[in-house]
Subunit: 487 residues, 2 copies
Amino acid sequence: MQEYSNEETLDPQDWRAVRELGHRMVDDMMNYLQTIREQPAWRPIPQAVKENLHQPLPLAPQGDEKSYQDFLENVLPYPHGNIHPRYWGFVNGTGSALGMLSEMLAATVNPNCGGANHSAVYVEQQVLDWCKEMLGYAPEASGILVSGGSMANLMGLAIARNTQLEFDIRNNGVQSVPGMMTVYCSSEAHSSVQKAVELLGLGSKALRKIPVDRHYRLDLASLEKTLSEDRQAGHVPFCIVGNAGTVNTGAIDPLEALADICQREKLWFHVDGAFGALAALAPEMRSQLAGMQRGDSLAFDLHKWMYLPYEAGCLLVKNKPAHEKAFAVVPTYLAPHDRGLMAGPPWFANYGLQLSRGFRALKIWLAFKSYGIDKFRRLIHQNILQARYLAQLAEASPELELAAPVPLNIVCFRFISPRLDEAQLNQINRELMMELHERGIAVPTSTFLQGKYVLRVAITNHRSRREDFEVLVRESIRIGKELLQRM
Amino acid sequence: MQEYSNEETLDPQDWRAVRELGHRMVDDMMNYLQTIREQPAWRPIPQAVKENLHQPLPLAPQGDEKSYQDFLENVLPYPHGNIHPRYWGFVNGTGSALGMLSEMLAATVNPNCGGANHSAVYVEQQVLDWCKEMLGYAPEASGILVSGGSMANLMGLAIARNTQLEFDIRNNGVQSVPGMMTVYCSSEAHSSVQKAVELLGLGSKALRKIPVDRHYRLDLASLEKTLSEDRQAGHVPFCIVGNAGTVNTGAIDPLEALADICQREKLWFHVDGAFGALAALAPEMRSQLAGMQRGDSLAFDLHKWMYLPYEAGCLLVKNKPAHEKAFAVVPTYLAPHDRGLMAGPPWFANYGLQLSRGFRALKIWLAFKSYGIDKFRRLIHQNILQARYLAQLAEASPELELAAPVPLNIVCFRFISPRLDEAQLNQINRELMMELHERGIAVPTSTFLQGKYVLRVAITNHRSRREDFEVLVRESIRIGKELLQRM
């Protein structure tokens, strides 16, 4: 037995110590979440902390305790901020106490969800079935959990590219297509659509960015015109991307009309519903989102408006064989078996780009069961009401200007003053946004709408209350005036 | 205040209850890991459990407690198995107690690591710097954490495609290239390379699968011949993929020679080192892996041979501008600022496909610090020794046949008998593998080598001991003989 004596492991020698550390972490993390409202919405990282995060490769062990201390001192106090009740930057979900515990459970089981015969793949199938039911897709539809909306958009377009045409593109490549393969979306579509078109080898010039109307929705007449011109020029249109909630303003494209055009023109209809798709849970949004369920593919994120921790994106695909045919490659070491681990339902790896895949499904499964979907309905509805409330507050304030319609959960506004020209307005609002962050008051982010720099508030936060938006408006006006005086 | 009273949140009404649940989970999960050796290596999922995992969409809440019970009863007992000391299927890491706690911490902070000014992006930079140092890349090199090797391979090839040529492929697409853009790899390369070539619009026929020698290493003479023929045919070679550890047998391609050819032929050199790259930590493997650090890009997984929980892949790229130029798209709502959350170091989103990105870096950062790299050196070395030990055991057993050389951590063997022909040998070994699973003894998986079905043992497991391989050999022989009698 001599030869075994020097074998080692990452398992702790003292399980009691790591167990106690785990308990301390649970307490610390719960305290952190419970008191997050008392923290600033954001704070800058001190130079000393940046230096602590820039150290040589650690060769010797420093132990769990010391590493955890380093985390408590250097990482935890300087978060992105999306856990905070007054965070409304970009489009980021909030997470939750249950979500954070779910990730611990998932990392304990630590399965590879690429496929095979184990509970996690059944949990993922379950979650996908629930997503289909929730968003109006038939049980026969296909789906897969992915890292997020960018990946879901890429995969939707990849399936579209690989299946819409009589060319065997997987084998022959895009060069075998006699004409430019064109994709259509609005000028407000997410940058990941462009990234996808580029990655797929189509070239961004093949992405036709159609102008929007004054509600930032894709203009149908322009689309029809461009489509017809492209056909006449010998191009090969194959896909339209509709927005269910644009990232700038939350605009919802005329999805029903887009679905009709796709049907008539035999184009793949991909819907980017990164956050907006989930608004379909709120009854008042259903008519605006009508047509979404006609998408050949639908991309959305559960780490956005389902408030789940990163990463939890989803792609639904109406035509299961098309989905599989776009990606499946079965190497010899994955040959299916009748029994044992190598049996089991169809491999998720054949429906996507990942072979090794984490257990994203668990946090979704636990959240749906624990909270129930009706809870999410109410929270999403609440966020939409909060957006309308903020819009009203902005409109009612002479110092503020509402910069775009508020069809969903995104509010764009800016500080205004008759003393300032457009360039100065851009400057003062930029400064205003940075001050709101630096003073820890709130985290809106910004965008440009028709050349105007505006503060942008995207509400996918279950911790926000109406009073938080009152704080934002009050402080924006106060700081805006301060800045005005200094100019 | 009336209007606020009905606002709700996912935060628990009773923090004490969820805190207690968290403590119970820590205890349960620690018990589970501590006693995993006493569990079967795999067990089938009963039909009743499958039905429990196939339920209607839950509209009403059932609460955290009940959901956790459902997890304990339906999910936890039927894992993939890679946490078990006698699991050596596919190539899956093991996870660890610290890893599982790290994921809880990451999900509490729950940052979006697409970019911006917060601690998590500095942690990721730190981890990338460590990976560069560890694997012989210069500090000026670029890198990004990704979901896994498939994504890292895809991105490496995407950068190669977008930068090696005088065509503006991001804008003009692959169709603008006057010739087929060819990629070279061995016939043993990972399926994700083919998936990547297909996704990039090049077509799998553009992937030249070069034959291997009897050690399953790419044959250089065949490569040179194919390259030269392709040039003469007017094709456009742009990339060679070298394997640092093939998935079937752990073969390491002649990387130094491939780097020389790439240099001479002005081709991008991508190294797929999914698990094998990390063998460079073991001093005895360094000479075999020489040349790996000359890769223009290198893909590897920390969730494999660093035993970290899913998902933790990494791509390193020698030329930082090339990396950024392949992917960067900056929409107006992400315009950089001088201060506040929208300031900060360059956005990771510009170096990859994801805009929303989880906090993969934390578990790596904590593991490197807690355990120290020297610990990983020893564990990787230990796994290599264990592979050699298993190979010796197989060679010493007349009932077993070692089916391929064992250059790294993968051992392929099969049960043999002079009474059986090749078809029967395939059949009995297939049955043997399923029996090993079903009886919960051990989890090898399988592959085909030159038409022969073989059991395949890939050792990236910090819990395995020499005695576990003795069990595998003993039981394989015992069950093989049992099956032989029945035939």
